[in-house]
Subunit: 193 residues, 2 copies
DNA sequence: CGTCTATTTGAATGTACTCAAAAGCGGTGG
DNA sequence: CCACCGCTTTTGAGTACATTCAAATAGACG
């Protein structure tokens, strides 16, 4: 599988020697998945940190009542996975599902450890990656606290215009923290204007 | 000001030489604040990443209607600040306020840059710090999506038992995404059992 | 074309909010 | 030391935003 996008997202932040680049790319397992296929299930032992090369994924939590709650979507160039279980080796809380035919690159906890051990320069890359995710998530928390559903939906479509093509409405509703029925009503109201 | 706690939180994750330790501690500006004093205001140019040595802080967003929304509390050993504005040099969106008499250690964006430049080993520390924050925030988002207010409140008191002593209820309500009136009603209902 | 799932629609319900007023609490000054 | 002031918390009534449930419609896929 092509690792160009992967390497590019890294070299946007840190310079790499050919050797580092090779070793890095070698840490990943390529995997192709079909729409709806699961890359990760709750309770499974083997966890990966996942990089999307093509396609689209979503990572979600299934609660005691069987309702899904979308934590994250992932488009090409984005990372996803249950960070907590990857890093602590605990069982995954989340599922990760392909929303479309996708090419994904997987790295295990131990591969990541070895990479950071051998080439500590990657610490910087992951520091920046996590830092940016943190900023994004802060924005999401802020919206959940301060904005009503309609406004959250409008911001979502503005921030991620490409996602609506891949993602069924019910998952967008879930990401926004509302029911699919209510999202449908919000959309109708917006259309009528 | 004593930098023992600061250095300890770092050496829990990475080993430091005496020289690194000294340089690191030297990057920080000590500051004492009284209850209610603001360490950071929205729109201000100079941004710090803040480490709490003693006392307690909170970082919050004030929306267009003048309502505050608490992003984060910070107890001794914790970090806070508007990461986005610190790292990108943009104006702060948040305010940070002392909840009690506090000793705080401040590092500017440029100091942090210099530190990471000179001793890249600190990249690892901040990678782990941000990684853990990310995990914590994922948990918070999950709760906002899946749990009703009463459950969120119970989880909050279980997770941060010490915070209730420092933090007025209205700020806990704000952190949970509900009004102070409604939190009061939840508490009464819980007492009656 | 038929089946399965997603979306829409409407009615009834519930969770949480707004507004207003009373009660509690803490600090400060006389 | 107590009285007063300001702010937080409580309480209640009315309201709004969002949910649940059920049924109809629309879309996607084999």
């Amino acid at each position: 599988m092509n690792t160009r996008l992967l390497v590019d997202t890294v070299t946007r932040h840190i310079a790499l020697t050919t050797e580092e680049e090779k070793f890095f790319a070698g840490c990943f397992l390529p995997r192709n998945v079909r729409p709806n296929e699961l890359l990760e299930k709750p309770g499974e032992p083997t966890q990966f940190f996942m990089f999307v090369n093509t396609g689209a994924l979503m990572t979600y939590y299934t609660d005691a009542d069987g309702h899904d709650h979308v934590m994250q979507f992932a488009m090409p160039g984005w990372w996803t996975g249950d960070l907590s279980s990857i890093m602590k080796g605990t069982e995954s809380l989340f599922s990760t599902r392909a929303l479309a035919e996708s090419e994904v690159l997987l790295i295990t906890h131990s591969s990541l450890d070895q990479l950071l051990e051998k080439y500590p320069r990657f610490e910087r890359f992951y520091r920046i990656l996590f830092q940016n995710s943190l900023i994004t998530q802060q924005g999401r928390i802020l919206q959940n606290l301060s904005a009503p559903a309609e406004e959250r939906y409008l911001n979502f479509t503005k921030k991620y215009p490409t996602l609506e093509q891949f993602v069924p409405q019910k998952y967008i509703a879930s990401y926004l923290g509302i029911t699919p029925e209510f999202l449908s009503k919000i959309r109708r109201k917006l259309m009528e204007r």
